[in-house]
């Protein structure tokens, strides 16, 4: 048994790693830094850089020694001279910038460079003379050539007695070691259970999530258990009356219930039951009765699919040999159903239950935001609307990991109940 559990836990690791990798790819690589989105377009590059520094977005992605900086955007002078046009004494023709001889030209950075790390300058250019960059010589020749040069503090380009022609120029920050990357930063923070800071409220994400989980569970747990019991009861009822019009009615009803859009349940329920009839409060989270209507809607919206599922489960069991034996022994129809079928159907029911548990924690995204229940769903929808990456990522990640754990628990329960599982 212990070997089986250990094996399953080992199998869990790649999945957890996969989830971490997917969230990283999604938010860091595809999404990139949300700085512009969060701070707005009219913020100085320095503020953006500070935002990135705080959240680790200004590091290489997986592994690497160089990273871009917002101080100087890569320029290849194809169409414009870019930031260089502000500098007196330069000429821009045919996609090259020419620094005239005898002058001193500072790199047009948007904000002062950091003093605690090295930078690297990559220039593609040519020159007949011996241009200098501070103390260092720029080793350019008469032919086009790419050179790179490390420096600690920013200096001016001094062409000397011949002009320097530049085709492209890049500025990179040099990292102290190659593992100082976004991915490692992300992993370290996760190891410390640090999910970052919400960019819209400036609160710690872990605190927001702890605050939200209570209300979420208050709504999700009753919905789940009432829904489960109703669906199992109705499915037994269908199995009892199978192949009669009652059964067929419930089959059609469950497909119809499934086809009603979730939004319609919410809008119609809120309008008819809360607004028109006044049976429930419309919005808010102050007392237990505020949970009643969203819970009711939650149960109804999920009932169709669950009823269908459990009906299939029950009917599958009905065709087993033990049912025929019980009937042959003269056990009553109801007795077969409740004593024999229900007991054996518990395995799929339990699987379905355990697997659904992690989804309880996100609650229902929509129900919560419609009824103003300050749970994780509400938090999640708000975070998505305001592009609050850290919050969305944390909710996605924790939800997935809970799912993986629930899967593990199901398998262990299975193995405990049915020794054959271990042999597979």
């Amino acid at each position: 048994m212990f070997r089986y559990i250990a094996k399953r836990i080992l199998q869990m690791i790649p999945t957890v790693f996969g989830v971490i990798l997917i969230t990283f790819v999604l938010f860091n690589i595809v999404g990139g830094s949300p700085a512009m989105h969060v701070l707005g377009r009219h913020v100085s590059p320095q503020a953006l850089e500070e935002f990135d520094e705080q959240r680790g977005f200004n590091k290489p992605l997986f592994i690497g020694l160089r990273t871009t900086t917002r101080a100087y955007a890569d320029s290849d002078f194809e169409r414009t001279a870019g930031d260089w046009q502000k500098i007196a004494g330069i000429i821009w023709t045919n996609g090259t910038v020419i620094l005239a001889a005898g002058g001193e030209y500072a790199l047009p950075v948007k904000f002062p460079l950091r003093t605690d790390c090295e930078y690297e300058l990559e220039i593609e250019g040519r020159s007949a003379g011996f241009p200098m960059f501070g103390e260092n010589q720029l080793k350019l020749s008469r032919d086009w050539k790419k050179i790179s040069l490390r420096f600690q503090s920013l200096a001016e380009i001094v062409p000397g007695d011949a002009p320097v022609e530049i085709r492209s120029i890049k500025l990179r920050r040099v990292m102290s070691h190659p593992f100082d990357s976004q991915f490692i930063f992300y992993l370290t923070r996760l190891a410390h259970l640090d999910f970052g800071v919400s960019s819209s409220t400036n609160q710690r994400v872990s605190k927001l999530m702890l605050d939200g989980i209570g209300p979420s569970l208050m709504l999700a747990v009753p919905v789940f258990f009432i829904g489960l019991i109703t669906a199992v009861m109705l499915s037994l009822f269908c199995a009892f009356w199978r192949d009669t019009w009652i059964d067929r009615f419930f089959v059609v009803l469950s497909v119809a219930l499934m086809s009603v859009n979730y939004l319609v349940w919410i809008v119609a329920g809120q309008y008819l039951l809360a607004f028109k009839l006044g049976w429930f409060p419309v919005w808010g989270f102050e007392a237990v009765r505020y949970i009643a209507l969203p819970a009711l809607i939650g149960v109804f919206s999920g009932l169709g699919a669950e009823l269908r599922f459990y009906r299939t489960v029950m009917l599958d069991e009905m065709h087993r040999d033990y049912v025929r034996t019980a009937q042959a022994k003269g056990v009553s129809r109801g007795g077969v159903l409740f004593k024999h079928v229900l007991k054996n159907a518990m395995i799929p029911i339990i699987t379905n239950t355990v697997i659904a548990i992690p989804f309880l924690y996100t609650g229902s995204l929509l129900l919560e935001s419609f009824f103003g229940i300050p749970g994780l769903g509400y938090l999640g929808i708000n975070a998505i609307n305001s592009s609050d990456v850290d919050v969305v990522r944390a909710i996605v990640l924790v939800g997935s990991i809970l799912f993986v754990i629930a899967n593990l628990l199901t398998d262990i329960c299975y193995a405990a109940v049915d020794p054959r599982v271990k042999l597979k």
């Binding site: 999945t15 989830v19 997917i22 859009n261 929509l366 998505i384």
Partner: protein, 295 residues
Amino acid sequence: MSEKGNSLWSDAWRRLKKNRLAMVCLGIVAFYTLAALYGEAVYQYYHAKDQTAFYQKTDLGLAYQPPSSKHLMGTDALGRDVMQRLIQGTRIAYKVGIITALIAIPIGVFFGCLAGYFGGRVDDFVVWLYSTVASIPGLLFILAIAMVVGKGLLGIYLGIGLTTWVGLCRLIRGEVMKHKEQAYVQAARALGLSWPRILFRHILPNVFHVIIVTFTLRFPAAVSTEVIMSFLGIGVATEPSWGLMINSARMRLWQGVWWEMTFVTLAIFGLVLAFNLLGDALRDALDPRLRTEGS
């Protein structure tokens, strides 16, 4: 139809024809499809002429007209004809249903085929990939992808398309595993055919019904998700999607403007119901063994 009518498809069609409910659903689906095509034609016409389409033209004098002979389903807050906007909503729904399927089905089929055929390391990788994707909470994952990609139709396509291939992948993997051991595949292998040819020319046609059924059942789910996303303001913003219509009708409902809400609801309900029932019937007709596997 082949002359004796015992190929897989003609057989399935005969079984489907006997199912009266399925035929009604097929009719409804055809009706929606025509509406979507008409909507697309109207859209393209105005798009080509670079004019504001009539379903987008606002006329505040006509706002909130109840259904009449002129506006069969009434008008909305800006005096636009609800029926015309519903038809445009059908167009969007079809676009979402089809394009997300075009993203999800190739991914699912490709990985499922490879995993089922090769087994071993390839299978391990594919199982790892889909169990990872499957463990991320569905709607939240879709919304997160849409958030990262940017609001609009592209976000919807990618969000739904990249997350819903898992079920199909699983089914195809299982089917291919079964077919791999059968005599016709062994024969093909003995003839020295290359694996892509065996996999995609010989095995794939035999598991094609799985794809058809999955598509029919995924379509309404994708449409429902699109409605929710557009409603939340993450999806379509400038065109009349059903989600946007529900959103605008919701507030007016409280003031007694019932028609917009009612007709949108009915339109979604009809489409989803017809596709769901048709999908079930197709599953029964094409492969009775699958009956217990799906949701």
